[in-house]
Symmetry: C2
DNA sequence: GTTTAGCACTCAACATATGAGAGTGCTACG
DNA sequence: CGTAGCACTCTCATATGTTGAGTGCTAAAC
């Protein structure tokens, strides 16, 4: 079923008005602001048609109309005009990705900062997991005053731990053991690594240092573990949809126990660019009233990082998409 | 002015009832629960006296009584019975601090996790600032595939950054320059260090690597910078005092722009053990309705870390104090 | 002197009524 | 096909009782 020109105009105006005002749109105001020389009654008829098509909803009998999920979808797919980025933001994005940094973990946190500057979305990011982090080096550095720093380097991140050197332990022998290990296990995925390593390590190093080393490796796995990072909470919570205390509580909970957000991000971000999920298109009930603009970053065939901009369904899709596209391009370039 | 035995009993019962129920306490219920064989009228008289002494408040003419700030203070100082910790929590605390770890930054984040498990307070923590972090080592490690890891070690934390080696740059010459620098500036406070270092570095290392190194050092300062860390937000926001949307918004804002919390923590935590601040005793208007149980950790005469448990004035002081005392002891021992 | 019973009074919270305002659907007409 | 007009609906805000918990005070009892 095709929409004629005017219906599209009306739908688009309703979406954009509603995004801006967060208030249902009535026929009178729309007839005025639309500037087409038609009366409110005509608009009302068009609205009734759009509602019959499932593109608009009524909050109650006598408030204005609000876009439905399908209405937003149509808007995003066909009606929306891509909006150019602000110069300032554009420049900041470019400059971040022109640097020499290759540490994905670091890039994730910096990118998150960038995404949250838009000032109205909840920015979420996911770094590479232990599955696709590969060991490059494991070492112990002298750190003065009887302490050492354990350092683990992978292709995606670095981890460290400052420890008291146990009495009677030789730095040299520790280093030798670690070097040998590094050599042997170089390039191995961190996920497979641990089991093998635990046993190899146990042979060479004894006592408390062994315990600490194992604890350190475990933490490296945990840190490398895919845990969603979040920025821009207050902007997000400031959205008018969270005015009621019950809603705001739900949103806070959603953010705190980030499992749901992680799931959302994983489902929404994929290969090949930026994609949008709207309301009911999300699986879990907690996110049925939210939308997400998301993308994944690929390196050598694997997705090593994922990002998303989350807002109420009434979010500014054009703005979010422009930002996401730009960051996507920058990051892909920087990483590959 | 001395309070007789019964007045103390009444005050204590009111505080503890109110802490548990968050509802003002009336004379009738109190007469019943207190189990003293006196009538509500007698309790009413006692209450009136306590109110005259400034130890109780009335939310309005005809609700029950609520402790005033001074009432809480008297309760904490004289009336409260120290509560023993739960075994489980106690064991977890001990085991964390029996390890070899000396990295304060790491200890801060682990301790914060511990504090937030109490499940009703907002836990805040502050690590050592650049002022009291002293350079131990600055190095560049080969990290494979044309990349290097810059590593900076201080007595309190370690920082790192994974970089692409610029074409034509020699790892050896970079290392030499960094070693020389480490040697020269060893033990210097990170705060004074940078200025001097910037210039020294500029001489030895050129081009993009210089930029990246400077950026790295700047970030080290920023990371080492005293920035308050927060855990347990959702427990805190679940407190009934934040039922109204306006209040909850205020609380969220307080948490997000953490400057006020940092100030609060700095003012409340000091040398020599755990202390309590109640309501109006806090300076800034945003925290007038909150209380904090806080302590600082000393090492060689300097406070290198600070922690606080924040709740509404109606918080469970006995529980918070027990937890704080235990963590304080454990940390002091582990660090010294 | 202390305690208690009794009573009038106060105030928040809840429910109910009322009116205004915004918006809709429908019908009849140009 | 578009428009004017009108009855109708529903939310929101305001006003008005009503209820229940709690207080303060007085006078009598212990």
């Amino acid at each position: 079923m095709e929409l004629d020109r005017r219906k599209r105009q009306v739908l688009r105006a309703i979406v954009e008005d509603y995004v801006a005002s967060a208030e249902p749109i009535g026929s009178r105001t729309l007839a005025r602001t639309l500037g087409l020389g038609v009366s409110s009654a005509t608009i009302r008829n068009e609205m009734a048609d759009l509602e019959a098509l499932g593109l608009l909803d009524k909050p109650h009998t006598s408030a204005g109309r609000v876009p439905s999920d399908r209405g937003y979808r149509l808007y995003v797919d066909e009606l929306m005009e891509p909006r150019p980025m602000e110069q300032e933001a554009f420049r900041r994005i470019r400059s971040l990705y022109l640097r020499q940094v290759r540490e994905i973990d670091y890039l994730v946190s910096q990118t998150l900062g960038l995404l949250s500057t838009a000032g109205e979305f909840l920015a979420v990011g996911l770094g590479p997991g232990p599955r696709n982090a590969h060991l490059r080096r494991l070492d112990a550095l002298e750190a003065g005053e009887g302490q050492i720093a354990l350092v683990l380097v992978t292709d995606h991140f670095v981890q460290h731990r400052l420890l008291e050197m146990p009495d009677g332990m030789q730095l040299q022998s520790l280093q030798q053991a670690l070097w040998a290990l590094s050599q042997e296990l170089h390039g191995m995925s961190l996920l497979r690594l641990t089991r093998t390593m635990v046993e190899a390590v146990a042979r060479e190093i004894k006592g408390r240092m062994q315990e600490e080393l194992l604890a350190f490796l475990e933490d490296c796995l945990a840190t490398g573990e895919e845990r969603v990072r979040i920025a821009g909470t207050s902007h997000f919570l400031a959205q008018p949809e969270f005015r009621e205390p019950e809603r705001i509580r739900g949103a806070v909970q959603l953010i705190e126990q980030s499992g749901v957000l992680q799931e959302l991000l994983l489902a929404a971000s994929g290969r090949g660019g930026v994609s949008v999920r709207i309301g009911e298109e999300n699986r879990s009930p907690e996110t049925r009233e939210l939308s997400i603009v998301a993308f994944g970053i690929e390196r050598q065939g694997e997705i090593v990082a994922r990002f998303g901009l989350i807002g109420p369904k009434r979010m500014d899709y054009a703005k979010a998409l422009a930002l996401a596209e730009e960051v996507f391009k920058g990051l892909e370039q920087a990483i590959n």
